[in-house]
């Protein structure tokens, strides 16, 4: 390993991922600067970084999307490279080009790869043209006049998506074809609003599909490897809650086939840096869904079973180093599960909750990693994504990993804002999860899981005891009585 061509890294992100990137960069001997909006005052990444570059915007999100301001901050702080994390500017080819034009290193893929994979329609035909499997679909661009007819001809159920989309925004499942036109209109409105692009495409929806994705990593010298798959089928509103590796459903042959397909797609695209090829899997078949040209939220499960540091690999590859590993060098050991701790109420339809972190205690123990995104004292608002932290556990096998995850959840203390921690535990305890029999619609089909159970009589007694003991007025009432008895006693004598 040679010296890196830069000594300072600017992290253009927030929350847990900013802290996670800073940790690796510091370990590599880099100086770290984190871009931060005022709404994130008190966040743990700000303490961990060597310097904070304050950025401004009408909203926090607008600030983190302001590429000119972020590049200027990098220059001002002497950063030679920018890591975009996930979300925000991570899949913005214009930003990647601007970073390079400013003479800085973008820690991510080439702008060409971002462009190709960012346009879901182009990406899909690129993949299909090279003989990799894709789901039957229709794109609006091909001939807008016949779009609805072509969509109907695919046969239901259908999934309508904005072609510029990602992260589940604006996606709709249509089972009743009479509603197709209406759903298309709503998806178009959402696509227009989120991405400034109302173009749509529809594809056959695989019933009870499983979401399986493959981590790939490429360097500038033509090497592409995969680091195995992750299964992310436990979702609410198309957003992942639990991710694990290896997938409990794949056979050895299927695993090899899906991982080789992902590496093949990345190779065909001349892909560099970290990327994830997402597939939809159902009854032994899998289809290419999309490729995310960035580090994923759920990357730690891959790190735990492979013993790698994907952020370090990203930084080295971006600096022009070769990967230094071949496919045979990547070994997988044990089972890892990630749980996303969200500020949300499962019982109220997974709606976001707000508050202030009044107390936070991380879980510890063997095989437990806690990627923290908030610190004590921080306000939780709806200004950003509701993810507060990620709990990642590793064990020799899946059952051990689940048991460790449940113990770690029980030992996580986060007071002041309602979270999904209890829901995550119910989910892990469910027999279908234990059996690995889940799909992306599983949570919708199991609404009972979201409901908050009534506390047992034993718990109610504990809660009543703590409430009474912690309330000064109640203690004072009790303490006054023996004093009075004593006084009366003395007077009588």
């Amino acid at each position: 390993m040679s010296a890196l061509p830069f000594d300072t890294l600017l992290v253009a992100n927030r929350g847990e991922i900013a802290l996670r990137i800073i940790r690796t960069a510091r370990r590599m001997g880099l100086r770290t600067v984190v871009a931060a909006h005022g709404a994130d005052r008190g966040a743990p990444a700000l303490d961990a970084a060597d310097a904070v570059a304050w950025i401004e915007g009408a909203t926090g999100v607008a600030a983190y999307l302001d590429s000119a301001q972020i590049i200027a901050a990098a220059r001002r702080h002497g950063a030679g490279a920018i890591h975009p994390g996930y979300g925000f500017l991570s899949e913005n080819a214009t930003f990647a080009r601007a970073v390079a034009a400013a003479g800085l290193v973008f820690v991510g893929p080439t702008p060409e790869a971002i462009d190709l994979m960012g346009d879901k329609i182009r990406a899909r035909s690129f993949v299909a043209d090279r003989g990799f499997p894709v789901a039957p679909s229709a794109t609006e661009d091909e001939d807008p006049g016949t779009f609805l007819d072509r969509a109907r001809a695919l046969g239901g159920p259908l999934l309508v998506k904005p072609s510029a989309g990602g992260g589940g925004k604006g996606m709709r499942i249509v089972r009743d074809m009479a509603l197709l036109e209406q759903e298309v209109a709503q998806a178009r409105s959402e696509g227009q609003r989120y991405f400034g692009d109302g173009r749509l495409y529809v594809e056959r929806f695989v019933e009870q599909p499983r979401h399986i994705e493959v981590q790939v990593m490429g360097d500038a010298h033509g090497t592409v490897v995969h680091l195995g798959e992750r299964e992310c089928s436990v979702q609410r509103r198309f957003q992942k809650i639990v991710e694990e590796t290896p997938s409990p459903v794949l056979t050895f042959e299927e695993r090899q086939r899906i991982c080789e397909t992902a590496a093949g797609i990345a190779r065909a695209a001349g892909y560099r840096n970290a990327g994830t090829v997402e597939f939809i899997y159902g009854r032994g078949d899998f289809y290419f869904l999309e490729m995310n040209t960035r580090l994923q939220v759920e990357h730690p499960v891959t790190e735990m079973v492979t013993g790698t540091d994907l952020v370090e690999m990203q930084i080295r590859v971006a600096a022009g180093e070769s990967l230094g590993v071949s496919q045979a060098d990547i070994r997988h050991e044990g089972h890892a599960i990630e749980l996303r701790v969200y500020a949300e109420s499962a019982a109220r339809g997974f709606t976001p909750t707000t508050g202030r972190v009044l107390a936070l205690r991380q879980p510890g123990g063997e095989g437990v990693r806690f990627d923290q995104g908030v610190a004590e004292g921080q306000r939780i608002t709806t200004a950003f994504d509701p993810m507060l932290a990620k709990l990642v556990v590793h064990g020799p096998d899946r059952a051990t990993a689940i048991a460790r995850a449940r113990r770690a959840l029980a030992n996580t203390v986060l007071l002041g804002c309602e979270t999904n921690i209890a829901f995550l535990d119910r989910l892990l305890a469910h027999p279908a999860f234990a059996a690995g029999e889940v799909h992306t619609g599983w949570l919708d089909a199991e609404p009972a899981l979201a409901a908050e159970p009534v506390p047992s009589a034993a718990i109610r007694l504990k809660l009543a005891a703590i409430a009474a003991l912690a309330t000064r007025a109640i203690r004072d009432d009790a303490d006054a009585v023996p004093a009075l008895h004593a006084a009366i006693g003395a007077w009588r004598n």
């Binding site: 339809g349 709606t351 107390a359 908050e452 504990k462 809660l463």
Partner: protein
């Protein structure tokens, strides 16, 4: 003075009496010998001889706590205030926000006549667009939000009046 807490949606009356090494708990949740112990920077709940760690934070009338692997928020119920809330909340013909979010669009103005099912306001929260529709025929008597505005859960969005 009687004290009650909202414990998981149930009004629970509690009281304490001084006992030799702590207190005797009484009330709707049951009876037990209890104490909070502070040992080595940790707080322990002692209940009928058993001890277990507790994390708790007082926040006004709320008690946030973690015990036995679970998180709970209890509300200290002040009888006088509860009565006032019930008076004020009675009979308001209003749509309240089911979750915190942002107003995408307002489709009506004060004085508009609306029929059941007419769109009133489109709100967005965490990637999900929801249309708030008229729940009966009537007249819009107040619009409490504007496009682009963000709001908390339970915020009043639109008030209707029955058709005269």
């Amino acid at each position: 003075m009687r004290h009650a807490f909202d414990i998981a949606g149930t009004e629970t009356e509690v009281w304490l009496e001084r006992a030799r090494d702590g207190y005797r708990l009484g009330g709707d949740a049951g009876r037990a010998l209890v104490a909070l112990l502070h040992r080595g920077g940790n707080t322990l709940l002692s209940l009928d001889g058993g001890e277990e760690p507790v994390h708790l934070v007082l926040d006004g009338e709320l008690i946030h706590l973690h015990v036995a692997g679970g998180h709970y928020t209890l509300r200290h119920l002040d009888p006088a205030r509860r009565f006032a809330d019930a008076e004020a909340g009675g009979g308001a013909d209003a749509a309240r926000a089911p979750m915190p979010g942002t107003v995408v669009r307002v489709d009506v103005a004060v004085g508009d006549h609306v029929a059941t099912g007419d769109p009133l306001v489109v709100i967005e929260s965490m990637k999900l667009e929801t249309t708030i529709r008229a729940w009966h025929d009537g007249t819009v008597s107040a619009v409490h939000v504007t496009a682009g505005q963000s709001f908390e859960r339970d915020a009043v969005l639109v008030t209707l009046a029955a058709e005269a």
